[in-house]
């Protein structure tokens, strides 16, 4: 293939300018600088990119979850008019595998495929339909193998190994106190299951790779972490990192699903091979195969307590299905192992958390990251225990709530603030919504809504509570840092601050927050947040609720460094004591003396720029007994759900979710509310609707017609009370806020369903048939009105 003669270096479509925002400091509700381009349709997402001479890339994927590949014949596809390249693993010039934690996943499969949808070959064509049709002309000779589709089966000694390292990807073993000698008056057991949830971000995987004509490549991409993508792309292309430049394009949501690579290496391979810009854009069906999902889990628990309701011990055995490749499963397994007991003071605990390779779709990061699954189980156990003790479920939780100075079962001392009891007390005190008469009600406000299937005969109301928690930031010894460059200059006679980081804005609002911090620290109104790219060092991942903390701290520190320089200059020129100085509205002000000098005058055409790298305090890996100071910060949320259930039809309406959450500092209250409401919606989805159904390793519902997401009709009003208890180690005292709402809402909603129906409901998503009792999740159909298999040994 000949290289194009002229290679445009930037997308031809005019890229929107960096929005300069003006209002809003830390603590104030500040509207997004990218809000206007987003409502007018001008905001450029990675699927909106276009360049002259651009080709469309497409991916051939395995139809089998497990097979040997005997041959791949691309000759017929290469002959299709309009096809510019057909590539296989032989065309990967560098490392032929990739992976965030463990490089175990082929860039393009050779010899063997381990999941349905695994990429095998790529094509580039002048029209996406031509590309799709060429894929059909590639002939692959498979020897279909039996898939390993059950994590317990994968663990058995005699099961064939999917990877050289075996099928056990990780085992976390946490020993705290001694469960064998612990004596309890009351014991409850339970088995719980969580289905495979999808992040279902709305903007499908997409990007544009542009060869630079000198052997390197620019990639405009949706991702959560530019630098880890850059390093993996460079390694597989056999290039130096600086020959691969990543630019964050508009990201249509992420929720964990963009931490791993999708089409990054593929599009660059095609671009370098053809010498033309190549755009790749998955459709929704392909997106279900193109990213990892939330791990399905099976969890067995035993809780022992004294007669007056103090926890004595917890035993938990957790089995996670990691699917075909490692993704971030190692960290998910660690998270689940450390959070398995919930935010409670437990003197004795034994937790075994297992992560297995199977031939199911690969699983990895999704909002809540291992804490979601165990929270569903530990909160169900707390309710079961409360019932066995005849105690109020909230009282039981308060009685056992962990507090600063206690030790988590993984040995780390609970740092302040950890207001678990307070969150629950405040939640309990929040007013209940008024009960609305069933008869004569607008049908849209009944379970089943406009489907007009119930008139309220079998409708019962239920109330449920849950409390969840999670680490913020990367854990267990990971070098977790962010980098920020802040530059103060004068433009058009007015001071302007430019903030540059590589932090991925995925919708959460980090760009707004960076501007708020700069405005607060430097007293300048006009702030420009520059596009994120790899020309600056890493900001780390937009995940683990960490960007506000880590990149927030980096921006704050860089602003402080700039401010120090400004003050030093003032002292030099005016002899003012810098301790009494501040910057307000673009002027340097001395305490009691008013304006010393406007910044515009002081800078006199010069710029002051500072680059700062920020690291949070170190964390440590767990030892062989699962003990260690593994996490840097903990965020807590408690929730109460009220549901109405039609017991005969299995229909559910969530009436309200109330929540209390400690956020340390509400940096941007409106955006914070949006995180909490959006997080609750995803937890509601897992409770009632969302599951990737996998049968014999094959996805049955790879579309938004069959994978059900909560709509505006499913989502109830959210009531919230925000606590601002500062974390002394974090910038402004803030805590990460994105994940706790998702963690607590699933168990709260299911608890409310149990309250309404009296059923066990030990699997999510809860389906209508579980509510009416047609089939029990453990294969034993519970009798109507029964409480399921008796597990209490009171």
């Amino acid at each position: 293939m000949t290289r194009a003669e002229t290679i445009p270096t930037t997308p031809t479509r005019e890229r929107p300018e960096t929005p300069v925002s003006t209002p809003g400091r830390v603590g104030e509700s500040t509207t997004r600088a990218d809000g206007v381009p987003k409502v007018t349709g001008e905001f450029e997402y990675s699927s909106d990119l276009w360049m002259d001479g651009m080709l469309y890339g497409a991916t051939l994927r395995s139809p089998h979850p497990h097979a040997n590949i005997w041959s791949v014949d691309t000759s017929e596809a290469e002959a299709v008019p309009g096809i510019f390249a057909v590539l296989t693993h032989e065309d990967v010039p560098g490392r032929k595998v990739c992976g965030m934690e463990v490089p175990d996943q082929p860039v393009l499969a050779w010899e063997r495929v381990r999941y349905q949808g695994e990429p095998i070959a790529l094509v580039a064509a002048d029209h996406p339909e031509t590309a799709r049709r060429a894929l059909e002309k590639i002939s692959v000779e498979y020897e279909v193998l039996d898939p390993i589709t059950d994590a317990e089966e994968a663990m058995r000694e005699d099961t064939p190994k999917l990877h050289l390292s075996g099928n056990l990807l990780r085992h976390i073993h946490v020993v705290h106190g001694d469960v064998d000698t612990a004596e309890a008056d009351v014991v409850v057991e339970g088995e719980y299951e969580v289905g495979m949830q999808d992040q279902a971000f709305l903007g499908p995987e997409s990007g544009l790779a542009v060869p630079d004509g000198r052997g390197g490549v620019d990639l405009y991409i949706s991702t959560q972490w530019l630098h880890i993508d850059r390093d993996q792309v460079a390694e597989s292309l056999g290039l130096e990192p600086d020959q691969v430049r990543l630019h964050l394009s508009g990201v249509g949501g992420a929720f964990g699903g963009r931490e791993d690579l999708s089409m990054q290496i593929h599009s660059c391979l095609l671009a370098l091979h053809t010498g033309r810009p190549v755009k790749m854009m998955y459709n929704r069906e392909e997106s279900f195969y193109g990213h990892v999902h939330r791990h399905p889990a099976r969890m067995r628990y035993e809780h022992g307590a004294t007669r007056d309701g103090k926890l004595v011990y917890i035993k938990a055995r957790l089995v996670f299905d990691g699917g075909a490749y490692a993704s971030s499963s190692n960290a998910v397994c660690l998270n689940a192992g450390t959070f398995a007991c919930g935010p409670y003071d437990v003197p004795n605990a034994l937790v075994d958390s297992y992560m297995l390779y199977t031939n199911n779709p690969p699983c990895g990061a999704m909002r809540g990251f291992g804490a979601v699954q165990v929270c569903f189980a530990h909160e169900a156990q707390m309710d079961k225990l409360a019932k066995a003790l005849g105690m109020d479920p909230v009282e039981l939780r308060i009685k056992n709530a962990i507090k600063p100075g206690d030790r988590f079962p993984f040995g780390q001392e609970v740092p302040p603030p950890a207001p678990v009891a307070e969150l629950l007390e405040r939640l309990k005190a929040m007013p209940m919504p008024e009960e609305e008469d069933i008869t004569g009600r607008d049908l849209r406000r009944l379970p089943g809504g406009v489907s007009n299937v119930t008139h309220g005969e079998g409708v019962r109301r239920g109330v449920g509570y849950a409390v969840g928690y999670k680490n913020v930031g990367f854990s267990a010894g990971f070098d977790d840092y962010s980098t920020a460059k802040v530059t103060l200059s004068v433009e058009g006679g007015e001071p302007l601050v430019r903030v540059h980081t590589a932090a991925a804005e995925v919708g959460q609002g980090i760009v707004t927050l960076e501007a708020q911090i700069a405005r607060t620290e430097l007293g300048v109104n006009k702030i420009a947040v520059l596009p994120a790219d790899t020309s600056i060092d890493s900001a780390g991942s937009t995940s683990a609720s960490r960007q506000s903390y880590v990149t927030g701290a980096a921006v704050k520190a860089a602003c402080e460094a700039v401010r120090e320089k400004v003050f030093a200059r003032v002292r030099e020129e005016f002899g003012e004591d810098p301790d009494g100085l501040s910057i307000e509205d673009g002027n340097v002000v001395a305490e009691g003396h008013g304006i010393v000098v406007p910044l515009a005058e002081l800078l006199d055409g010069e710029e002051i720029g500072e680059l700062v790298k920020y690291r949070h305090k170190p964390t440590y890996p767990l030892d062989e007994n699962g003990q260690g100071d593994a996490h840097v910060q903990f965020a807590f949320a408690a929730q109460r759900a009220i549901v109405e259930v039609d017991e005969e039809l299995g229909l559910v309406r969530v009436v309200e979710v109330a929540t209390t959450q400690d956020v340390g500092k509400a940096m941007n209250p409106q955006a914070l509310e949006g995180q909490i409401e959006g997080g609750i919606a995803q937890g509601l989805g897992l409770a009632l609707l969302e599951e990737i159904q996998v049968k014999e390793g094959r996805i049955q519902n790879a579309s938004f017609t069959d994978y059900l997401l909560p709509t505006i009709l499913d989502m109830p009003p959210v009531k919230m009370e925000i606590l601002e208890l500062a974390d002394p180690d974090a910038p402004y005292g803030l805590k990460g806020v994105g994940e706790p709402p998702t963690i607590a809402s699933t168990p709260a909603i299911v608890a409310a369903l149990r309250d309404a129906t009296g059923r066990e409901l030990n699997r999510v998503p809860v389906k209508p048939e579980h509510i009416v009792g047609i089939s029990g999740p453990t294969g034993q159909p519970p009798q109507p009105g029964s409480r399921g298999p008796a597990a209490e040994r009171a």
Partner: protein, 156 residues
């Protein structure tokens, strides 16, 4: 094939359209109007909502050929003289925008609702927007935005 239609008040003609292309594809890849989004491409998410001769449709479900001779209004055509439409303004102010991928569809669908009913009840808003998926906001701020826009439009 050749396609002629009016888009946002402007006569447009595109050549070499493949018969299988959707109106969404033509708007995006052939006319450069990327505001209408491609989230599900099977009529479930509403992110590609446009007006076709005054009717709200999912442009992913309309074949390009069906738009021949039609008037199409997309999200790019709602603002007038650089001034945001009150619906757009309300979405920004109310915090109804996070990642923003669903936003164009919600804006067009809300525009349609408020044209028909300037004082919608909560149930009416929810019903009208039930065909639009948002994965970020949990819809609360979207409801706020619709109420805010309705209030302002009714007052003006």
């Amino acid at each position: 094939m050749r396609l002629s239609c009016t888009v946002n008040g402007e006569k447009r003609e595109v050549e070499n359209v493949w018969e299988g292309e959707s109106l969404l594809y033509v708007l995006r890849e052939r006319m450069g109007l990327y505001g209408s989004k491609n989230a599900c491409e099977q009529g479930e998410c509403g992110s590609c909502s446009v007006y076709l001769d005054g009717t709200l449709v999912c442009s992913c479900l309309v074949l390009a050929g069906q738009a021949e001779g039609c008037e199409i209004l997309t999200v790019e055509g709602l603002a007038e003289d650089e001034r945001l439409h009150p619906v757009q303004e309300a979405f920004v102010e109310a915090g109804a925008v996070q990642c923003g991928f669903c936003t164009p569809g919600f804006v067009v669908a809300t525009h349609d609702l408020l044209q028909r009913n300037i004082t919608p009840s909560e149930a009416e808003i929810r019903e009208a927007l039930a065909g639009n998926l948002c994965r970020c906001t949990g819809y609360e701020k979207i409801l706020d935005a619709v109420r805010l826009a309705a209030e302002r439009m009714a007052a003006s």
